[in-house]
């Protein structure tokens, strides 16, 4: 019970997560699986729809005041597109929203993504519970920053 200043508020507010596939990639079956899994884990889930731009993703995240942006790409463009999202966040000074990634990401890219703040980067076949735990963990970090800034 060390998180945040207002315990009851922290506890009662569910994690809010935005799922997005920015870039040219229409393979959203995985997103639907995740959306359902996050919902069943008690989260408020938003899905950005097909083919949003990185700008749309960041705008939506800010307007909806989400805790976590969960990005997924299966088309190999993650180094460009995830970075674009991270750069936009940085440019706009957003520090209280965490970014996690997933998709077909080679192991060699993972440290580079971590470096720009995109964590997780789970591939196909990862257990849902691992992903959920990671999102919760990052959400708690983001929430702490939100509470601190108020």
């Amino acid at each position: 019970m060390a998180d945040g200043k207002n315990q009851s508020l922290f506890k009662d507010k569910p994690v809010k997560v935005l799922l997005a596939k920015p870039g040219i990639d229409g393979h959203d079956r995985g997103m639907f699986v995740l959306a359902r899994a996050f919902r069943d884990a008690g989260m408020d889930v938003l899905y950005a729809g097909l083919l949003p731009t990185p700008e749309e993703v960041v705008d939506t995240a800010v307007n909806e005041d989400v805790d976590v942006i969960a990005l997924s790409l299966l088309n190999g463009a993650h180094m460009v597109v995830f970075k674009k999202v991270a750069d936009l966040m940085k440019k706009r000074g957003i520090t209280d929203i965490a970014v996690v990634g997933g998709g077909t990401i080679p192991d060699s890219d993972k440290p580079k993504l971590e470096k720009i703040g995109v964590s997780g980067n789970y591939g196909p076949g990862t257990r849902l519970s691992i992903i959920i735990d990671h999102v919760r963990e990052r959400a708690a970090e983001a929430r702490k920053k939100k509470m601190g800034s108020e």
């Binding site: 919902r39 069943d40 939506t60 005041d65």
Partner: protein, 298 residues
């Protein structure tokens, strides 16, 4: 604001901005699932913006009663329109049975109102008492229906007929639209109406039919001068929503932290006290607490 039910900070904030509110036109959009409420909002937003209005959208989605989680799907249906016109949109979830949603919605509306939005669109799935409560926050309530609902119209009229100012029969490009419009008109013909005669508009987001008329009717209703009595009932409704959520807040707080109350809950759940006696005791325990804290208020 959303979820800030348990925070006094939210109340202080709202108290502070209250003098700057009251300018926005709040349009409620409600109706059964699948009639195209979100898509319709996406289509009328540009028309409102064309007239130079600053528009915001608040959409409420049901959360799972088991996990309390939710999939907030309304946004996808209007994303294109939101992006193109840089409209502010916020999704709220109903958060199970914990109540207080009306209060989050009220707070969000007030903040957007104070922020200078001219039109605030409030979307709910038209089911249940809490939805009706939320719709009471809206100055203009629009009920959306679709062809093929059949007897559902009968069911809806019980709750929604009384609060609707405008009816829209969406998907009017489909078979049976004419019949549906006529059904609603028939129901309206036999119900009591005040000075405002409730219009029924056929709309289609595919052909664009009726969208302008719908917007025109919303604006006509906005300028329909509300009587002093109406204004009073709006304020009274706001007050009762706030009092209700405050009481709810106290109750849930006590359920968790208050020894006296948790003891009663324990006794009821192990069967040694009946729930009616239990609720009386809890209410008197909470009122005692209110009395003792009232002396410390300024």
């Amino acid at each position: 604001m959303e979820n800030d039910l348990y925070s006094d900070r939210a109340l202080d904030l709202l108290k502070g901005i209250y003098p700057s509110t009251g300018h926005a036109h709040v349009v409620g959009i409600t109706g059964p699932p699948g009639v195209g409420k979100s898509t319709l909002i996406g289509s009328i937003v540009p028309l409102l913006m064309e007239e130079g209005k600053k528009v915001a959208v608040i959409a409420i989605d049901a959360s799972s009663p088991f996990s309390k989680g939710s999939i907030l799907g309304n946004r996808i249906r209007m994303q294109e329109s939101l992006t193109k016109h840089s409209v502010y949109m916020r999704s709220l979830s109903t958060r199970g049975l914990n109540g207080g949603l009306s209060f989050s919605a009220l707070g969000t509306v007030k903040i957007l109102d104070a922020a200078g939005y001219d039109t605030i669109i409030l979307e709910t799935v038209g089911a249940g008492q809490s939805d009706l409560d939320i719709m009471r926050l809206a100055g203009t309530v629009t009920v959306i229906l679709a062809p093929g609902l059949g007897d559902e119209i009968q069911a809806i009229k019980a709750g929604l007929m009384e609060i609707a100012h405008i009816f829209a029969v969406n998907k009017s490009d489909r078979d049976g639209a004419f019949q549906a419009i006529k059904d609603v008109q028939d129901i309206l013909m036999t119900s009591m109406q005040g000075d405002w005669k409730i219009p029924v508009v056929g709309t289609s987001t595919v052909t664009g039919e009726g969208l302008r008329e719908l917007v025109a009717q919303m604006e006509r209703h906005a300028s329909f001068v509300p009587s002093v009595k109406d204004r009073g009932s709006v304020l009274k409704n706001e007050l009762s929503l706030i009092v209700e959520s405050e009481l709810m807040k106290m109750f849930y707080r006590s359920m968790e932290n208050d020894r006296g109350v948790t003891d009663i809950v324990g006794e009821v759940s192990d069967g040694s006290m009946d729930p009616f006696t239990g609720s009386r005791r809890i209410i008197s325990a909470i009122s005692e607490k209110i009395n003792s804290s009232a002396t410390t208020l300024p």
